[in-house]
């Protein structure tokens, strides 16, 4: 019994010391012009997919002088991300955070940003508006145009004139990719159709494999996907003898012969920019976007099977895109129910705000948004 008060006092002292330590730690970054940046991933960072693309971006800046990075993976889009952010700020002394998953933003990133006004938050997903805290912000890439070019390659390579697309959920970004891919293929041959299967969630390996089997059974011979981790997709599709076009990052090592090309993120550009500005003490932009021309996204090197004609046309379109202002979605354009969705003469370049509310599938897509 005599030990108890002592223990309690010790406990309180330890608690106070722990609580004070971040105050001490946060002094040092400013003094030494050094910076700790925290990266938060929703899934495993070596998943051949979305999270790996961010982890590759983080790895690209990790050797910058004065920069320390800290990472945490498998952080759910819930209260868990608030705890991760707080521990990165308080225990690791992070002053720049990159929560990379779409669902982190509201309310988690916004609320934490209000609570820590001297920490900068940059969220991947393009949701920041001027009403949100000034120390928050968002960045995203226009990957639809890259999918358009992959669609051109697919259009050249398909023999059955039928493409397959395994998609997670019918949200605007996914629909944009399906539409751009289809339009790219149909610019080669207007008789090509794209069959879409929605699996209902971002990571459903068994369902993705079943979807691939169903698509190949229906005669699709070039497949692509928009799911978090395309590993199972690529292995199942190439196992059935189909060509694949990758997504998020290069899956070429999984299927060197059957991998045609792919739409990849290139987050290193974004992270380098933010880190350089933060190290130099400059204000960070709140809203950052870019596409192929800005090197935010890239296209995988062509696989050995890609024909000369396909390379030529894809490279020509890519050169056009690099000049800026290229519009994949332009009128006259009909959706797959026969309604006109873009009037003749109208064109939406990738920066157009109208594309972010896309709720249709274009003519040539077999599938439905609900």
């Amino acid at each position: 019994m005599t030990m108890l008060p002592l223990n309690r006092r010790r406990f309180l002292m330890a608690g106070a010391a722990l609580g004070a330590s971040p105050l001490l730690m946060r002094v040092s970054p400013a003094a030494a012009a050094s910076l700790t940046a925290g990266f938060i991933y929703v899934g495993p960072r070596d998943d051949f997919g979305y999270n790996q693309s961010h982890a590759e971006g983080a790895a690209a800046i990790k050797d910058m002088a004065g920069l320390t990075i800290t990472e945490e993976e498998n952080v759910a889009e819930s209260d868990a991300v608030v705890k991760t952010m707080e521990s990165m700020i308080q225990l690791d002394g992070a002053s720049l955070l990159f929560p990379t998953s779409f669902g982190y933003y509201k309310p988690f990133v916004v609320d934490t940003a209000k609570q820590y006004p001297d920490v900068e938050f940059r969220h991947c997903g393009g949701l920041w508006t001027p009403k949100d805290p000034k120390n928050a912000g968002s960045y995203f890439g226009y990957i639809g145009t890259a999918q358009y070019i992959c669609g051109i390659v697919a259009g050249h390579m398909t023999k059955s004139k039928r493409l397959g697309f395994v998609a997670a959920k019918p949200i605007p970004q996914v629909l944009m990719n399906i539409n751009a891919y289809t339009l790219g293929a149909r610019s080669v041959d207007p008789s090509i159709k794209t069959q879409v299967i929605f699996t209902g969630d971002w990571a459903m390996p068994v369902k993705e494999a079943e979807a691939v089997n169903a698509l190949v059974d229906q005669g699709a011979d070039v497949l692509t996907c928009h799911v978090d981790s395309p590993k199972v997709f690529v292995q199942t599709a190439t196992g059935r003898g189909a060509f694949v076009s990758g997504y998020h990052t290069s899956q070429a090592p999984l299927a060197p012969q059957k991998y045609l090309t792919g739409a990849e993120w290139h987050w290193a550009t974004v992270y380098k920019m933010f880190a350089e500005k933060a190290l130099a003490g400059q204000p960070l932009p709140n809203f950052v976007r870019g596409g192929l021309a800005e090197d935010f996204v890239k296209i995988s090197p062509y696989g050995p099977a890609v024909t000369e004609a396909a390379r030529k046309q894809a490279d020509a379109v890519k050169a056009e895109v690099m000049k800026g202002g290229y519009a994949v979605i332009k009128g006259p354009l009909k959706d797959n129910k026969g309604n006109t969705v873009v009037a003749a003469g109208k064109a939406y370049p990738e920066t157009a705000i109208e594309l972010e509310t896309m709720d249709y599938l274009v003519e040539g897509v077999i599938g439905s948004t609900s």
Partner: protein, 307 residues
Amino acid sequence: MTTDLGIWAVPLAVLGGALRVSTPFLFVSLGECVTEKSGRINLGLEGTLVFGAMAGYGGSLLTGSPWLGVLIAGLAGVLFGLMHGAVCSLPRVNDIAVGIAMMLLGTGVAFFFGKPLIQPAAPMLPAISFGGWSDVPQLRAALEVSPLFLIGILVAVLLAFMFKRTRLGLIIRMVGDSADAARAMGYPILPVRIGATAFGGFMAGVAGAYLSLYYPGSWNEHISSGQGLIAVALVIFARWNPIACFGAALLFGGAGALGPALQSVGVTSGYYLFYAAPYILTLVILFFTSSRNRALDGAPRELSITK
């Protein structure tokens, strides 16, 4: 290269899906059937399944033999089963609570050791082709069957025979139905239950190896999506009958393929509803087969949920 199947693609996909997807359900539910017949519920099989997927993949990668991977996964499952069986043998320990803890433990440990296994490609289990007689490539693809599936059928038949005709089956059933009777007959209760739980763990480990080494055939942290839990429920659905477990597993595998198959033939709206098909089907079957008089038919009386 392919034949246009039209609407026939749907039953074909359901058949193919039943053959491809059902095996993990079958193995987990057969193992759990034995565990529950002895009077224990092991909800931790989901964790064992995920750990088995990791251990099987790692074993196949390290030894170069997928079959050794399967064996390693099974043995890892035995360890988990023994742990569950032993902890539950302590006085006043609830098997359901321990099972939930084991589920979290299994997945957590699997993720921890599985990190370096996500990238490399391990040798896969071979398939046996039963479609050589057909000219339709889709049918040939659907009839590619894993040897594990055939082994699963064999185990189901053997278990049914064991429960009905052998002394061992009688002992397991007696321990599960009335501990007092077993004690009076002089049979050891705890070793039988621990052994039955270890068998359940072995089967769940092998089921995990099927996921990572055959279909979908890769190790990642989302590999299971709850199949271990569903399989535990299937045992109750199948009324603790191994042959019925086989039917239930086929039903769930086939119904799971319905959603993608319908979308592929152009039935594109309402896919969330089709994805719920296995569960709706279960409710319907339970509704039509329910009976006030036979509600506990086949249920081991020592189970904590029926006691």
